[in-house]
Amino acid sequence: MSHATPLRHRTGRALLIGAALLWLAFFVLLPLLSVFAQALPAAATGLTAGFKAIGHGAPVKALGAIGSGFAHSWSPYWEAITQPDALAAIKLTLIAAGIAVPANLVFGIAVSWAITKFDFPGKGLLISLVDLPLSVSPVVAGLIYVLMFGATGWFGPWLVEHDVQIVFAVPGIVLATIFVTFPFVARELIPVMTEQGRDDETAAVALGASGWQTFWHVTLPNIRWGLLYGVLLCNARAMGEFGAVSVVSGHIRGETNTMPLHVEILYNEYNFLAAFAVASLLALLALVTLVLKGLLEWRYGHGGSARH
């Protein structure tokens, strides 16, 4: 129908698309690019020189400039991300996400099963409560665990007596991570499982399948893409969480620093190169997440209706 569209509509269309692209380039793409440019400054200079050389019709010189830029950038970059404190931060981030994501996955499946396969009073309230952590400030999410498990908290005296440390240690980081990623799996599964209905499961049970068999062979194949989608979003947030983890972490280098916290410490020490090098790893994680998300949407036709 585009050939029938009047000219003024077509100019309007081009203007609107242009304005939207410009806005996104300025507010979204530029910050992303600047992470990599700050992490690999020599490479960025090399690329700029290279593009200028191409402009002057000197492709060999361009390749040389780009190549030497990357060569100069690589060793300080590699040093920053393989330094022992950075490696410890990467390890702690993987541990925290490695516990928080499976925990919220099991919860997400259980609560979605209860909500979508049965009718009970208070269901609407339960759905709202599952979403509740999304509207709590990350700083408050950290604070509540300090009030529970800190030295002066509810369980503080008991914990001190038994020499168990939760806050300002790894368990606190895991708890805060679980809190901020709490709803992600459930809020993807509930709409998918509602749409699937209960007929398949009812039939399986009528044919003599056990509850576990029904879930494993009937429900799971139906919800696997939604499940993966939820896990992906949950993991991205778990690895990138800053505010909540910052409050419950003791900020001890090499011990209770996750990757985002390590970025903050390096940045506050004016070690910008190393801060952006570690930050670029997190930015890569975000890009991988977006690519996988795109693949999942394409594979299982998620309407992009996910509200974060």
Binding site: G12, R13, L16, I17, A19, A20, L21, W23, L24, V28, L30, P31, L32, S34, F107, A110, W113, A114, F118, F120, L129, L132, S135, V136, S137, P138, V139, V140, L143, Y145, V146, L147, M148, T152, I178, F182, R198, V205, A206, S210, G211, A236, G240, F242, G243, P260, E264, Y267, F272, F276, A279, L282, A283, A286, L290, K293, G304, S305, R307, H308
Partner: protein, 273 residues
């Protein structure tokens, strides 16, 4: 409606779900209100509404409202382009909208600061003109614009996609101008979604921490946001002070949540009518 389902696992899944929800979310959150209630009204007001904290609320609420308003316009534009037009690279543009959600907030924070600092890619052009962005409330607003964009776009997008185009075509056939069609037909239909998007972005903005603290400068009474006041009180081991501010912020968040639910109910009723 049959209350009894033959599908097994109701007790197990609901029981586990409620236990997990209570232990990890509800009981920890209740500490804020229990501790606040224990402070006594007079003490609570004194700490929760001290002048430095009041300045922080004003800044957080003001910057969040300004950013949400900007995102409302920009989000409507982006959602419109994504729903109504087909063009090369549309998938890529859609992925860009989700980037602020996927990018860890601390990374966004240092990236934006690097861009808008006086020697940054953008800041170097603005500082000769006497415009300061980093370490001012404008910088805070820019960080919140970045964070809030996907919330507004993804709220408006599905509603816009479901809207029948015949209504617009009818309006145009009846002689309405493009502007009239937009303000009289489209905007009223999109209003609930826009209100929800605004409220979501606003609620996210007042609690946001990671992307803001690097660009904000953190000067008391000038560029100190409310979540940072909580962290400041905690660093001074003033748990009561931190809790009082957290209680105020939680009440505002819950009020926003309630408001969003009301808007959704209202929108659903209006659709049915």
């Amino acid at each position: 409606m049959t209350r009894r389902s033959v599908i097994p696992g109701f007790g197990l899944t609901l029981g586990f779900g409620l236990l997990y929800l209570s232990l990890l979310v509800l009981i920890p959150l209740s500490t804020i209100f229990v501790k606040s209630a224990g402070m006594g009204w007079h003490d609570f007001v004194r700490v929760a509404f001290a002048s430095r904290t009041l300045a922080a609320y004003r800044l957080s609420f003001g910057a969040a409202a300004a950013a949400a308003a900007v995102n409302l316009a920009a989000g409507l534009l982006v959602a419109w382009v994504l729903v109504r037009y087909d063009f090369a690279g549309k998938k890529l543009v859609s992925a860009m909208v989700d980037l602020p959600f996927a990018l860890p907030t601390a990374v966004a924070g240092i990236a934006l600061t690097a861009l808008y600092a006086p020697n940054g890619w953008i800041g170097q052009f603005l500082s000769p003109l006497g415009i300061k962005i980093a370490y001012t409330p404008i910088g805070i607003t820019i960080a919140l614009i970045f964070i809030g964009l996907p919330l507004v776009v993804r709220t408006i997008e599905p509603v816009l996609a479901d809207m029948p185009r015949e209504v617009e075509e009818a309006a145009e056939t009846l002689g309405a101008t493009r502007l009239q069609t937009f303000t009289r037909v489209l905007l009223p239909a999109l209003f609930p979604a826009m209100l929800t998007g605004f409220a979501l972005a606003f609620a996210r903005g007042i609690g946001e921490y990671g992307s803001v603290i690097f660009i904000s400068g953190n000067m008391p009474f000038a560029t100190e946001i409310a979540p940072l006041r909580i962290v400041g009180q905690l660093e001074e081991f003033d748990y009561a002070g931190a809790t009082a501010i957290a209680a105020v912020m939680l009440v505002v968040s819950f009020a926003m949540l309630f408001f969003i639910n009301l808007v959704q109910i209202w929108a659903r009723r209006r659709m049915e009518a």
